[in-house]
Symmetry: C2
Subunit: 357 residues, 2 copies
């Protein structure tokens, strides 16, 4: 993805379609507002998809996998070999996101951007190899300019494949041992927060492990304290899969494709995408609040109100996948319910008159 | 339902199957606990269904409809005719729960226990007529002994039909203008709480309407202050549909059929069911926290942690229906994911060794 690509304006949601959807919601046979967030979702999707009948039947999920130089600092509960092993597990259909995608009848694409433990070519996996891992950002920028461009471009290319397949909703996911460390460092730099405010347990560190991870992030933030701007912060503190997510989100927003954001790491990518292109924000729906410590702060910074809060913290796009049925039901209700007039049901105005009489 | 039926012990969940499910969750290719509540749901269903492969494919939803004498006090934003009109809307397929049941491929049964506006016999609707409405409980007990028994029996009969159809999960819903008033009065009596602690907006009252409703509930609580025991409180302050839900929940627990509880009114019924038979509690899963003011207190009293909190407040079993896909995905993940050994993925123990070395 070229830097010029980031200068392209995002698509503009159709406000009149969203207004028409609002008007319809009030006419459906239920107390106004009683479907809660499902009403907001239907209205938002109507505006984004520029239609009276929003739908998310065709869902595309891309999981971007990559390894992180900072993993050598001992910041994860799992060994680095797991990234490549999990790429194979995705391809074999045994991972959580594999099961979820099958159950939801969603397309699952796995893009390997570079893993220390190389699973090689696999059926059902795209190879967009950049390097076995980023550099350890405690000592150097995580990526070169060329590597950043390649990662952004891999995300952009994935969304273009999704668009060509007629996708109605794009979901990005990630796999990379050490990537909560990268996402935390990146988000802390972008938000100007201390590491202590955002550092969490990741895949399952104990208190000593979290303290160690926080010190690693503090070293990284000190090393790159001079870095300014979200793109350069992404290059110095991000990861290949995080940059790919940024590229994917920007491309989706430019193309007018709604995105459902997953958990902590994808929200860090969404934060960078929105700092790069504020007009990308309307295209991002938020699926869940992860149990990862810093996620609520990132959601708050994006003024995002996710649908679910069920203690998930897996990544892989799993939280977003679990929220897909809620979006589908929101669309089914919006499109399929009868209005008061169609059903011959009295609305509340009749009652107001009666009670006041 | 006879009073003797309430003396029958509930089924006992299979603790060894729940333990086996726990052990399996730790072996699946994800950090332990990272699927959050979805892990708990799978483990709970394994114990309830006494199986290694829990499933909620065959879902049965019964909506019990009935009118309330207390509606004449002006406690709802909607006119009383809406109860019967909505029964017709359920049968015609235009209501929220009609759309949800279709989309989820769930069986929807509508049981009319008595409405002021009688829609008559309708295809797809069961008639279990008790009376056009309960008595106004500000002035008299809501039900006679015979009416209470009939309502409990209607719920019991519905669950028996569900069992005969091979149902894996039972959901009860309700429709009845004025029934948040009945549920609030009943719950306040059972919990010994003042009306002010539990009274909410129902279908959409403004502040003056809520104050009026609270005074009505206070009159009812004063009128029946001498009443002791959950069954007699149900008779004096409940409604036909609330009693039917109590009968359904007790029957399901006795038969060993898991139940997914919906919102405020169904939770009030669940509270009565659990006070009548504490051994019914393990069979109740909770779907969502309604926006209705008192719901959180009722959930707390039942030590219930619902899956969703998305501002819904419609009733009709709609909140439970929206949570069904989460239960299905929890089962799919539990049954379909690969273990670390199967996938050849390193687990976290390897990392602990490495980091300590």
């Amino acid at each position: 993805m070229s830097r010029e690509s980031l200068l392209v304006a995002c698509a503009v949601p159709d406000a009149s379609m969203a207004e028409a959807a609002c008007a319809r919601q009030v006419q459906l046979t239920k107390p106004p507002g009683s479907l809660g967030a499902l009403e907001h979702v239907a209205v938002q999707l109507a505006g984004l998809q520029k239609t009276r009948t929003p739908a998310v039947d065709r869902v595309w999920i891309t999981v971007f996998a990559a390894d992180h130089g900072v993993a050598t600092e001992g910041v994860s509960a799992f060994p680095q070999a797991v990234t490549g092993e999990m790429v194979r597990n995705f391809a074999d259909g045994g991972a959580a996101i594999s099961v979820l995608a099958r159950t939801l009848d969603a397309t699952l694409e796995v893009v390997n951007l570079g893993t220390m433990n190389d699973p090689g070519e696999l059926a059902g996996m795209k190879r967009a190899w950049i390097a076995p891992a980023t550099a350890n950002f405690c000592e150097a920028p995580a990526m070169t300019d060329a590597q950043l461009a390649a990662a952004l471009g891999a995300g952009q290319a994935s969304v273009r494949r999704a668009l060509a397949a007629g996708t109605e909703l794009f979901i990005g996911g990630e796999m990379g041992i050490g990537n909560t460390t990268a996402a935390t460092a990146l988000a802390a730099a972008v938000l100007g927060e201390p590491a202590s405010a955002l550092t969490g347990a990741g895949t399952g560190l104990d208190a000593a492990g979290i303290a160690r991870k926080q010190r690693v992030i503090e070293r990284a933030l000190a090393r790159h304290a001079h870095v300014r701007g979200p793109l350069e912060q992404l290059r110095c503190l991000g990861g290949f899969e995080i940059a790919a997510l940024v590229g994917a989100y920007v491309e989706a927003a430019q193309a007018g494709l709604p995105v459902l954001v997953d958990g902590f790491i994808t929200t860090a990518a969404a934060l960078v995408a929105v700092r790069l292109r504020p007009d990308a924000r309307p295209w991002l729906l938020f699926s869940h609040c992860s149990q990862e410590h810093g996620h609520a702060s990132l959601l708050w910074a994006l003024e995002a109100e996710p649908l679910l809060d069920i203690g998930m913290r897996l990544g892989e796009a799993s939280g977003a996948a679990v929220a897909v049925p809620l979006l589908r039901l929101a669309c089914a209700l919006h499109n399929g319910m009868a209005t008061f007039a169609e059903a011959g049901v009295s609305d509340s105005a009749a009652s107001v008159t009666r009670v006041q009489a």
